[in-house]
């Protein structure tokens, strides 16, 4: 299936969101609010819950289905306080030695005057740096859209999984088409050359696991898809809870450190070798 076909599935009305999945996957979810600095962002929700008896911190990017829901969650586009809330909850998880499960679903961080004033760039940067060093396992799962830095802020993890129709990209295909061809309508064409599907990203070592959706897409059987996600989380926790701290942090660092394609050039100079 092509990237543009997958995008169609992800946009299907009735595709389950974080709010649907949390009660199906976790027990006793207790939601927490606010970044303790500015406010509470409806585009990111988080709290503590049990997963198969293990206390975990769950942080999810919220999309709505109705206009009212979408106004509350700003169509899934977080402000800086959303990322700062996510980071607060992640640090809390570190303190209480709970694994963190991030559920990612955003077209991107919000672009607006207030977001700039409150430091959208700084909020994402700090989130990336702190998640990289978080002394507890972090598992991220992209449920639908993984849009750029706004998704990356919650994808610095030990394992990244994607639902089979989810996408993850540096820029929305629409944005890509409008910059490259000055024509946002060529979105599907852009999607198909951008390497944004779960398979593409697995080949690039960005995505580690692909989680199957129910036949035809997650909306056809949300319970089945939730069960597949639970199965994945169960195995991911087993793999990561047994690692030593240094081993885990080094593996996380190296996972990102290794991504990039370059040529050292003919005369390999490298850095001065006094170390």
């Amino acid at each position: 299936m092509t990237a543009s076909q997958k995008m169609e599935i992800v946009r299907t009305k009735g595709r389950p969101t974080v709010r649907d999945y949390i009660p199906m996957i976790f027990e006793d979810f207790f939601e927490m609010h606010g970044d303790r600095l500015y406010g509470d962002d409806g585009a990111i929700m988080g709290g503590v819950a049990y997963f198969e008896g293990i206390p975990v911190t769950v942080i999810g990017q919220v999309k709505g289905r109705t206009l009212e829901e979408n106004q509350q969650c700003n169509f899934g586009m977080p402000h800086p306080e959303g990322y700062r809330k996510a980071l607060r909850l992640a640090k809390q998880a570190e303190k209480f030695r709970r694994p963190v499960i991030c559920l990612v679903d955003t077209s991107g961080a919000f672009c607006g005057v207030e977001a700039e004033k409150r430091g959208q760039g700084e909020a994402i940067a700090r989130s990336i740096m702190e998640f990289m060093e978080l002394k507890t396992p972090v598992i991220s799962i992209i449920l639908g859209e993984g849009g750029s830095g706004g998704a990356l802020a919650m994808c610095v993890c030990d394992e990244l999984a994607m639902l089979e129709n989810a996408t993850y990209s540096v820029i929305s295909p629409r944005g890509f088409a409008s910059i490259l061809w000055k024509n946002p309508a060529r979105e599907s064409e852009a999607a198909d050359i951008m390497h944004i599907t779960a398979e593409d990203l697995k080949a690039l070592n960005v995505c580690d696991y692909i989680i199957e959706e129910s036949e035809g897409g997650a909306h056809t059987d949300p319970e089945q898809t939730a069960e597949n996600i639970s199965e994945y989380i169960s195995s991911a926790l087993k793999r990561n809870l047994q690692k030593g701290l240094d081993e885990m942090l080094n593996a996380r660092y190296n996972k990102f450190r290794a991504i990039g394609e370059f040529d050292e050039g003919v005369e390999k100079t490298g850095v001065p070798s006094d170390s």
């Binding site: 991107g108 961080a109 959208q120 830095g149 540096v170 990039g260 394609e261």
Partner: protein, 295 residues
Amino acid sequence: MLEDLFSVVRTRFNSDPSDDQDAQKRKKTDIPKGLIFKCPRCANNTFMDDLAANSKVCPKCGYHSRLTAAERLDITVDKGSFEEFDADMMSKNPIDFPDYEEKQQALREKTGLKDAVVCGRAKLRGEDIVIIVMDSNYMMASMGSVVGEKIARAFEYATLNRLPVIAFTASGGARMQEGIVSLMQMAKTSGAVGRHSAAGLLYITVMTDPTTGGVTASFASLGDIIIAEPKVLIGFAGRRVIEGTIRQRLPDDFQSAEFMLENGFVDMIVERKKLRRTLAHLLKLHKPYNGGAAQ
């Protein structure tokens, strides 16, 4: 989100895109290329020679225009002290993007650079530093594999050798021709900054024109001390995208260095002429003291 990151560099400040095109046309037909500098802040024209004589600062409004990496190194580090790291590193084409290699080859010939960042070891008024300089002449200093790798290596070298890092940032954002691989460079560089920081070492960011998008949302915003040159553009999202959302024009100083200072994201704005002195002062203030972490 990133439509912004790229368009940010195209639609400078409050200029109307259609004006821009007219200006470009005029520039091409009427005025010999490269003789006149039109300030993106105040729109005044200055002769290139006069601009150069003023450290490339607009004499009318004080906007600090862009320098090449070579020019920046020349006015920043001690003469003859710079040893470049990874000078020959070049990008590949991770997502087989059409014409990417050709475009890069043409730019290499035009700019004499291999990619958009120059890193190395140098002395600044006698103090050893690792220095990172981005050059907006190369694909608007967008961050792809080479930029990410060189910056990560520079931080790792500094961590291993217990050196401070000074980074002059400038970027249109992530390099979309490298797709998701470019996004991952934000994580790679920020991770390396984190390890340098955890080792108790100093990192100073100097934000120059323009510092935007994925670079603002990664290592540029993570300095212990963040300095900006006057009037430069600093922001996350592109102005045109935001104006599209709110359906009104933004004030002229939106996303300027001054705006960032006012909102608490920059420690100080320092004129180019005083920058070397300021950096030397900060390096001295952070020298390990009696039983500090380094020797």
